[in-house]
Symmetry: C2
Subunit: 246 residues, 2 copies
């Protein structure tokens, strides 16, 4: 099953880091310093990388698997802030926030990542203008992404949010009928979209009947992007090809 790992299993830390936009245009020696200080790790499903309010020791560059970012309330509920996978960096923002994580992170399946000391990033940002700029850019994208999230939560109903989720999975290039696979458990998608799994299930039925999509297990077939995007995007400030960044 972990066929994803195959692509990355041979890569060196340097190669992984080099591909990040964070290090675009950064001197090789600098990237190398990060590479030398970092190490690969593969952990099973359910591993907690860090918790909210933890001191930040490391940040993580994912190369395979999915990680859930969340906040836990006093009375035991959980809000899933985001789900991230290969190519994403997590925990880096703590170096800008007094070295404390403002959310928790836990794997939802076997996950491989590069673990890099926060201290190195913190020191480098102070001195290296390119990296600071790159971080600024990625932070900005993150903000945009979250802004969209807030809009989605206030203006779209459950079915529309699910449809929106699917549209973002679509490759622009693909030809109809589009065929895609849900990236992780439905119960997680539900949490990610701010609803209960029962609601997800029912809302999915509604979406199915409204937009002619077909679902079998984790496989989705979308006969017409137009029908789906019309149903979804009318309640959103972005029209369909709403490029989903980062």
């Amino acid at each position: 099953m972990p066929s994803v790992a195959a692509a990355t299993i041979q890569m060196t830390p340097y190669e992984v880091l080099k591909e990040l936009s964070l290090f675009a245009g950064t001197a090789e020696t600098t990237v190398d310093a990060f590479a030398k200080a970092s190490q690969f790790q593969t952990v099973p499903k359910g591993t907690v990388l860090f918790l909210q309010d933890d001191e930040s020791e490391w940040f993580y560059v994912l190369t395979a698997g999915w990680v859930k970012l969340f906040r836990e309330t006093v009375d035991g509920n959980e809000a899933v802030i985001d789900m991230v996978t290969r190519g994403h960096i997590i925990g880096d923002t703590a170096v800008l926030e007094d070295g404390v994580h403002s959310f928790g992170a836990a794997t939802v399946e076997e996950t491989t990542f590069l673990r890099v000391p926060s201290s190195l990033l913190k020191a480098t940002i102070k001195e290296n203008h390119e990296i600071a700029l790159a971080m600024l850019t990625s932070m900005s994208k993150l903000r945009t992404r979250q802004t969209r999230e807030i809009e989605s939560l206030t203006l779209q109903n459950a079915s529309q949010r699910i449809g929106c989720f699917m549209l973002r999975l679509c490759q622009l290039s693909a030809v109809e009928p589009i065929h895609l696979t849900l990236p992780y458990d439905k119960s997680l998608i539900a949490a990610r979209l701010g609803m209960k799994s029962e609601t997800f299930s029912r809302a999915l039925n509604k979406l199915r009947s409204e937009t002619n999509i077909t679902i079998k297990g984790a496989n989705v077939e979308i006969p017409s992007i137009d029908i789906l995007s019309h149903y979804v995007c009318s309640a959103c400030s972005n029209e369909f090809p709403c490029s989903d960044l980062t």
Copy 2:
């Protein structure tokens, strides 16, 4: 009524800019360059500063009044992303996003601000490390703020969100009973918190009966922070003095 303006009416552009954390530790000559390029403006209620997807020409440093940041959907709904006032900067983030605004901004009362050309900021960030770092820090705070927003929308009910809003208005120093004034119209607070004004009104009644607060017009009296924060923060990942930044 616009007594707030009194404090700022005498200030020069330089003085206003100098107080921003964006320019903390920046050379005087640099700040001066911004000051020379900027100008004060006072506009009436309802003025649109910019709309979503507009090319960014200016960014704005507020010195008095409240501004609503929003996104409008295709079918005519509106999500209020944030409400900002004196000391806040708006529209600056566009220089990191291809020079296009990712939300609209409109005044909800008479507002005074300093209008500064985006091009200057864009150019300065590229060269000035201090400013890039300051921007990074403020961006990071913004992100934290929005993360909290997302949590709030998914986990707190209407009454709790209102209570949370009030708690954030409280000065830590204040002694009970705390007495505060709602900063803008209730219908706007409602929109800001992602609910309809009818719901706001009813939820406020509920909050009143649950936490012994008193409301007369825009005046709120909180006899016990403990009771209120217990009611509100049990559904949140932050305990009460959840410092509300920026």
